[in-house]
Symmetry: C2
Subunit: 348 residues, 2 copies
DNA sequence: TCCCTCTGTGTAAACGATTACATATTCGCG
DNA sequence: CGCGAATATGTAATCGTTTACACAGAGGGA
């Protein structure tokens, strides 16, 4: 592999001069510059990043820690991150870490010296496991908030989004509105529940515990919860699921029981995954700008990095948006496919 | 940041001894080992990977180059890669690179010295741009095959999968079977077309050029192609789309035109994306084991790395599987949701 | 003329790890 | 008792960069 020494020898200058030219530091005569650039290009010289990071103690890389995640969300958030990272000359080191303390710690250890900062997403994490990390590098927490003020965090406007959706259901005349809750100990789940209750109270409706069913963010969970709701003496007229997967499970249950949607029972979800608009009927949901979430996270992190982790900590939220489809409202507000360039092929 | 020197000083030994203990190289007395481990743990020492890679010229990191991709495929393939990478103590450096020469080259340059090898996916790539890279590191090409024999490659059994699906359509009695082709200059697209033609010939049917419509892997493309097919004097009785997105677009077109599926027109896709089973009617497709694709790619790369890129080059294919649903066959072969733990929440 | 300030360049010391080689101690065995 | 082998540890070179410092020559002002 060709090193800076090889280039220097070839150009009859010292390594210092080569380094100065390639980094634009210090004064070098125009002619020497031209010569060195030409030679470096011809020899296909690329600096060894390890050596560089050794002396500069910068890696130009940011670490990304994600829980065991499937689907659309994952790819979108990475896309957003990669965009802003690349724009700023940074690389992405990605690692899937089981969301327990041990997993996170192991992953963070592995990243020491490899990254300038970390974006960690771990929705049901005790942030403690992060706080006693062997590092002074900046960290941005995604989809959960740390207890102290030590760490930047970025979350979805869960509560607000849930509130808006439930308010929408209320505006359609619903009074008995059920919720299928998200996974226990999950930040997003807790916030969405909070928004649900808030909307009810704002409408003068006292939240009814029997209408708050447990769920786990899976389709099967939504299916079972919906069956339980149907079995109630005093059925609700609307179901708000804490995410789309559960809403889809609920739709199945209702369909199988011959319940008419939205006439007999309205259904709404959260996330607005691509599947939502393909449901029958198309599913109303709370849209989350996932790509932007990733982008903002990286921006926050870069800010922390440039300030050497000595900056005002922030807590930001990305806004959500209500998307009303036929599962809550009889008139079709949106017509399905084709939408040019919206859904792409997985293999292309 | 605590270095190996700090640990050595604290333990009253030389850096060499510390290094030996932590790497398990050379003989060190049990007591010293215990002491050093204890101190290293207490001080939260983690070796600086840059320094290490400088001397060992190994990074324990593999680079991943992906085209501008949305959706399920992306996340699944990364999942497969990360699994096997982690199992072998490797990290993943991920970069999205526009699939032109310049994009790839830039990305590969950025990775020099950071990675021990690269998995590159670039379906419509002239492999030339890869071959004259400034590197001697191993490369595995995903979803396309290099012209020469210089590079390992891993592809989907496109041709075989397409052939099987078309054979299935033939077995249902179809004779006039149309195809909506994939993007031009795309490897997968070309192979799927080849499989389609092969199946027809095997059934004694001469491929009819008017039944081979252009597509681009997008929903809109499938929609338009289907309309064109409907407008033919002598309509086909079945449509095979080179991917699911186009098949879904075609379904929309048919529905809007009041064509009954599968009675009047059978429809099949390729990829088996999660959406497929939610279509109305559920879409028959060729299942691609995406996660395994990523896993195999990393395995191949690790093999090349361990052999220092001096190994037999290979060309492998991951097998596909036919999934028949109602869009081609009247009797429901599969019942939709809920499938426990199959489709998860994007935010969980 | 002298000195000071630029400009352009080289020398060498870091950075944090690994490892070949040297050294010191212990032990076993003839 | 003495010698070689085995064990435990230290010393120092090395990897490829960046950068503080030194230095040489040129130009300008007093």
């Amino acid at each position: 592999m060709v090193t800076i020494k090889d280039v220097a020898r070839e150009a009859n200058v010292s390594v210092a001069t080569v380094s100065r030219v390639l980094n634009g530091s210090g004064p070098v005569s125009d002619e020497t510059q031209r010569l060195i650039r030409e030679i470096a290009g011809r020899m296909r010289y690329v600096p060894h990043s390890g050596a560089r990071s050794l002396i500069t103690s910068k890696t130009q890389t940011i670490g990304v820690l994600l829980p065991d995640l499937y689907g659309e969300f994952f790819s979108e958030v990475i896309r957003g991150m990669d965009d802003t990272a690349q724009k700023n000359g940074f690389h992405l080191l990605i690692s899937r870490a089981y969301a327990d303390r041990h997993g996170i710690e192991t992953a963070m250890r592995g990243m020491r010296g490899r990254v300038d900062g970390v974006v960690a997403m771990s929705p049901d994490l005790d942030e403690n496991s992060l706080l006693n990390l062997p590092s002074t590098i900046p960290v941005v927490l995604l989809c959960s908030v740390p207890r102290g003020n030590e760490i930047d965090s970025l979350t979805i406007q869960n509560s607000r989004g849930a509130r808006d959706m439930v308010a929408h259901l209320v505006s359609l005349g619903h009074r008995r509105i059920a919720i299928i809750k998200g996974a226990a100990r999950n930040y997003d789940a807790a916030e969405r529940l909070r928004g649900y209750r808030k909307a009810l109270r704002e409408a003068g409706i006292e939240p009814d515990p029997t209408l708050e069913r447990n769920g786990d963010f899976t389709e099967a969970g939504g299916y079972l919860a919906a069956l339980a709701l149907l079995a109630l003496k005093d059925r609700p007229t609307a179901i708000f699921a804490a995410n789309d997967s559960m809403a889809i499970g609920a739709l199945s249950a209702l369909r199988e029981s011959g319940v008419e949607i939205p006439g007999e029972m309205a259904v709404a979800g959260f996330d607005d995954i691509p599947l939502a608009r393909y449901m029958d009927p198309p599913l109303s949901s709370v849209h989350v700008p996932i790509c932007e979430l990733g982008a903002r996270a990286v921006e926050m992190l870069l800010h922390g990095i440039s300030r050497k982790n000595d900056h005002q900590r922030r807590r930001e939220r990305v806004p959500t948006e209500l998307v009303i489809r036929r599962s809550t409202s009889a008139q079709p507000a949106e017509r399905p496919p084709p939408t040019i360039g919206k859904v792409r092929s997985p293999v292309s």
